[in-house]
């Protein structure tokens, strides 16, 4: 802060912008942390599902040890990590999407468009704040439960944990990119509910949330790893399980970055088209 006057004016602007988005993200973090009982209920539900699904994976890997390149403890850990990430990366949709949808309904979306802040950047900041809270509040309990009850695979190296956190951050950005595009269809369709429910099916399946992608047969198994949804659950979980190390880790992160950039750019283009369409009816 004290060093600020010496910074070039151009950099001072960027600093102010960064602080603004940080404040927006912090606001979202605090907003979600208000609902403690709901958070507890959610974490409890993730844990119950974790238990049920972990046993089914145990049974499958008992019948077929080493299936898909996962050993049994990795397979069980896969379930717990994916349950911990489910809400953070919003595989089901939601987060800022609910707010935007409500604002389409009320017409407040017009206010968002003439704010002196970038529309996409604003919602991305809120979603990152939300995701930060959900990672702590809905990720830690299921993971702990899994570690205490099952024989799990935890990374020892702090670098793996750091790589995992970077991968989760990128997963949230890719997920935001997808959800932002879905939300923007509201400018044309007025209600993106139908598209959302279709996206839910696609995301649940192709993210690897239900089953690791390496278990998909034939053509499905070939296309699923290159689709953007693989960046949501499959890649960060494989980073955690140390199935992606060295070069594979870098390609995994690069895969996420490419999809993040492509989707954000597509969102930006769609936003430009959409803003030309909006007619604000005064009053």
């Amino acid at each position: 802060m004290a060093a600020m006057p010496q910074i070039e004016p151009h950099w001072r602007d960027s600093w102010a912008t960064a602080r603004l988005y940080l404040a927006v993200a912090q606001g979202a973090f605090r907003r979600y942390s208000t609902y403690r009982a709901a958070t507890f209920a959610g974490a409890f539900t993730n844990t119950v599902f974790g238990f049920i699904l972990a046993y089914t994976f145990l049974a499958l890997w008992q019948a077929r040890p080493g299936l898909g390149g996962y050993d049994t403890s990795q397979a069980v850990t896969y379930i717990w990590i994916s349950q911990s990430l489910l809400v953070t990366v919003a595989v089901w949709g939601g987060g800022f999407q609910d707010d935007v949808q409500e604002r389409f309904r009320t017409g407040d979306i017009a206010v968002d468009l003439y704010r002196p802040v970038d529309f996409q950047g604003w919602w991305l900041a809120t979603d990152l704040g939300r995701a930060g809270y959900h990672l702590l509040a809905r990720g830690v309990v299921p993971t702990l439960a899994g570690v205490l009850v099952f024989h799990t695979h935890l990374p020892h190296s702090p670098y793996v944990w750091m790589a995992f956190l970077v991968s989760v951050l990128l997963a949230v950005v890719v997920s935001f990119g997808l959800r932002f595009l879905v939300s923007l269809t509201g400018f044309w369709l007025h209600d993106s509910e139908g598209i959302r429910s279709v996206m839910l099916v696609v995301a649940m399946f192709f993210s690897g949330m239900l089953l690791p992608i390496s278990l998909f047969p034939g053509l499905l198994g070939r296309i699923a790893p290159v689709l953007p949804w693989a960046a949501l659950i499959q890649v960060p979980t494989d980073v955690f399980l140390e199935r992606r190390t060295g070069g594979a880790l870098l390609t995994g992160l690069a895969f996420q970055i490419v999809w993040a950039v492509v989707l954000l750019a597509a969102g930006r283009a769609a936003q430009l088209l959409a803003t030309r369409k909006v007619v604000v009816q005064g009053g």
Partner: protein
């Protein structure tokens, strides 16, 4: 919207004339069912005015709820048994469990919005209407698109009944419809009992998902897959094992991992009756504990 409200007022007026005749239990049940039918019918007419949207949502619901079985099928690409059970046998478990959950969700699933109504104060409106609150809340936002889950469940069940290796005796055949009805009743009771928690803990909406959706997922897989403590928990705790596990052991001729007396395999209707009693008692206690804010 104005039309639906008008219909609703009309419906409650018709009901008001019948309020006097509600002294006997039988009349009370009939009155509740009639209220439910009137309100559900009203919502159906409202939703059917957007027919294309309804069809899309029904298809999306069908696809979403089918994913669970797709996963099971994909698992069986890699193995021919899971916990000693074959794919058609898992299909039987999946079909029965998803059918029971789906029908319960169709009939009473809307009750999970109770917490929102308490928070927004609209529960008071429900309570002053001359129709049973429980029937009103269960029929609220009734939508036939929820038929997606039971429809795909029936498809899987029909396939599985043709594919399982079973010597069909009279009691086995009879047990199938019995378990479908008992299962629906048990899940309905769990929905209502779970929602009752929201009288005390308004944000607990997601908690009951563990028992309803989580419970149904548990019942998709054979009991041999799970730890014995977990299986015992759904026999003697929240009695979900009576939805399909226990009767399925008899129908499919499978050994019981807990070694319970065979009477348990026929006891689903009794378990369903006990669930209804417990849920009814919880609901009354919850309603008595509720205090409106008066606003």
């Amino acid at each position: 919207m104005a039309e639906t409200i008008a219909t609703q007022t009309l419906a409650t007026q018709t009901l008001a004339t019948e309020t006097l005749a509600t002294e006997t239990l039988r009349a009370r049940v009939r009155w509740s069912v009639r209220s439910w039918l009137l309100i559900a019918g009203m919502w159906t007419r409202a939703i059917m005015s957007y027919r294309a949207s309804f069809v899309l949502m029904l298809i999306a619901n069908l696809a979403t709820t089918s994913l669970d079985f797709v996963v099971v099928v994909l698992m069986f690409q890699h193995t021919h048994q899971l916990g000693g059970w074959t794919l058609p046998e898992l299909g039987f478990l999946y079909g029965t469990s998803a059918f029971a959950l789906g029908m319960a969700n169709l009939f009473v699933g809307s009750i999970d919005a109770l917490g929102d109504r308490i928070r927004s104060g609209t529960l008071d409106t429900v309570l002053i209407r001359p129709a049973p609150a429980l029937a009103q809340l269960c029929a609220e936002r009734f939508s036939l698109r929820r038929l997606g889950r039971p429809v795909q469940a029936v498809a899987v069940l029909v396939w599985s009944l043709g594919a399982v290796q079973v010597h069909w005796t009279a009691d086995r055949v009879l047990l199938v419809p019995v378990l479908l009805i008992s299962g629906t009743v048990i899940f309905s009771a769990v929905f209502i009992g779970g929602a009752t928690l929201q009288f005390w803990w308004g944000e607990a909406k997601e908690l009951q998902n563990s028992f309803t959706y989580g419970g149904a997922t548990l019942l998709h897989y054979p009991p041999t897959v799970f730890a014995k403590e977990l299986v015992a928990g759904v026999v003697f705790g929240v009695p979900l094992a009576f939805v399909n596990w226990l009767p399925a052991l008899h129908i499919l001729g499978k050994p019981d991992p807990l070694g319970l007396p065979t009477a348990f395999q026929y006891a689903s209707p009794l378990a369903a009756a006990l669930c209804v009693l417990a849920a009814g008692y919880a609901w009354r206690a919850g309603l008595r504990a509720y205090r409106g804010t008066g606003s």
